[in-house]
Amino acid sequence: MTAAAPTPSLAPVSRRSPVLVQLGGLYGLWLREVKRAVRDRGQLVGGFSRPILWVLILGIGLNPYFRGEVYGEVTFVVPFTYLQFIFPAVVALNIMYTSVQSAISVIWDREFGFLREVLVSPLSRSTVLLGKVLGGATVAMAHGSLVLVLARFADVPLTWGTVAKALGVMAMLALALTSLGIVIANRIRSFEGFGVFSNAVILPLYFTSSSIFPLDPALTRAQTRVVYPDWLVTLVEYNPLTYAVDTLRGVLIHYNQFDPRLGLLIMAVAGIVLFTIALLDFRRA
């Protein structure tokens, strides 16, 4: 057997501190998610076309009907147009789609073996999961920001301050939703398509979150239940997304149906709880 001296560059790596290793790995995994998303045509097309359909077509189309006086009698008096009203919700919708889509890729990582490569690395499980969540949330925020570009068409004036605050709320929403997606994906053994997700999770959450119609602010709680059927009001009130959208709406068009801090609290708690569940699942697997 040849006992040739190892080539110099093959000499042992200078020991990096464990914290640096975890941070470097986190960066690598985050970068991977972002690169994959940028190269994913289908996802990009969805990210562009969804807000255009919702804001420009649906929003502009329904805008006139939103005013009470259309029927000759003022029923609702609201300080904003329909376009302005759904605009924050479309931001949330784009974030929701993209977050869940990114999270679904854990199924592919598992089935196509990439996950193994990471599991035999020196990275801890929490670093691996955090890399996935941060990467997915970053992409989701980027898709949410695409909607902000349409702000001028929706008569939503944006200042830098508003944008900064909105991005903060969007980040919280994206983190919570990506964690939710991962928790769901971990429970799926066989996967046939994303359509199931969008029909079973995303759209129901979206439609019952007071996203596309307001619970009238001028009415009392009791009156609301007269105008709308009981079950719908209950659904809307129990849907956590309602409060997240409401907080974002407060930032973007200064209109809140609930206390805006409630939305922040719900997103923070949901994010932490879901991430923890995902981590426990991952450790057990």
Partner: protein, 331 residues
């Protein structure tokens, strides 16, 4: 563990058992791999090779027994053990939407290889497996042989000194297979490295230092290929008798030499003198006769009484098939 002056062996496996439901995948396996050795695990499908490798690389826990990587217990010190291992799994584990270089770079980051060293090693390893010209291609567009080579390169980006390869050549054409072995040979000349490889291609283990033959979770033999051939191989006669009468006659007469039956054929232990005697005696009772010279194939046949079995499909094939068809953009 008793520490002598010599460093702990690269791999030591001590009475490892592992059960999956009713299947006893590993049944008290023990062996030791020596420093800088080229060690092969040979066994048919389902022998437990992958299970053993998964235990060695810390992704699976043994039910009992102990596995040590340079003295590090894979259950109690998995992170330290992983740093020393370079692993090529049986199933591809590349991100096929990243380029070749990006896959290597990600591996370097994940294993904490500092930037400058990482870039230098990536270039060296790409050169070793002759993929330099493909560095900026998307991994998806590589052939399966190239993907295998890329995975080998990847396993060497960090400070791996023990390379675990699970069927690195399975499913490849003869030329790609030979190429992979030549890279491994060259690598062993350039770097202080111990190689453990699993395979069910018998002809591939001829060049190894030692072969460990496993079947049904047990070690049947462990030695240098030449020694195995000498002790277990022996020459064999593969005889197809003319009819049932002839079969009975031959079996009755040479019961002490019977090594096994494979379909129509009867296998008898043999040597040159026996061939002559047999022909003179039973020449008219046989339809055909083949002299099998000692090879690992005959060793395997002798030890297990059967030839290596065939491959079968994996479990979550449905989901994978969906993804492979192009699946959803989520992939």
């Amino acid at each position: 563990m008793a520490e002598g002056t010599a460093p702990a062996p690269p791999i030591r496996v001590d009475a490892i058992s592992r059960r999956f439901g009713r299947t006893l995948a590993l049944d008290g396996v023990s062996f030791e791999v020596r420093d800088r050795e080229f060690f092969a695990l040979l066994g048919p499908n389902g022998a437990g090779k992958t299970t053993l490798l998964h235990i060695l690389c810390t992704v699976l826990r043994p039910d009992s027994g102990q596995a040590l990587i340079r003295g590090l217990d894979v259950v109690r010190q998995p992170l330290a053990a992983r740093r020393l291992l370079g692993i090529v799994f049986q199933e591809a584990s590349l991100d096929d939407r990243l380029t070749v270089r990006e896959n290597l770079d990600l591996h370097g980051l994940v294993f904490g290889v500092p930037g400058a060293l990482r870039r230098r090693r990536i270039d060296e390893m790409l050169a070793l497996v002759e993929l330099t010209a493909w560095a900026d291609r998307t991994t998806r567009t590589l052939s399966s042989g190239m993907k295998r080579r890329l995975e080998i390169a990847r396993a060497l980006i960090h400070d791996s000194e023990i390379l675990l390869l699970d069927e690195p050549t399975a499913g490849l054409d003869a030329q790609s297979r030979e190429r992979i072995w030549s890279y491994i040979r060259r690598l062993r000349g350039e770097r202080h490295i111990t190689v453990l490889v699993t395979t069910h291609y018998i002809e591939e283990v001829e060049g190894c230092d030692r072969v460990c033959i496993v079947d049904r979770g047990r070690v049947l033999a462990l030695d240098a290929p030449e020694t195995l051939k000498r002790t277990h191989g022996g020459q064999m006669l593969r005889i197809v008798p003319r009819g049932d009468d002839d079969r009975r006659a031959i079996l009755g007469r040479f019961a002490d030499r019977l090594k096994g039956e494979a379909g129509d054929a009867i296998l008898l232990a043999s040597d040159d003198a026996f061939v002559e005697a047999f022909l003179a005696d039973c020449g008219r009772r046989i339809r055909s006769m083949t002299v099998e010279i000692p090879s690992l194939e005959t060793v395997f046949l002798t030890l297990t009484g059967r030839a290596l079995r065939d491959q079968s499909a994996g479990e979550s094939e449905r989901t994978r098939a969906f993804g492979r068809r192009g699946g959803e953009h989520t992939r």
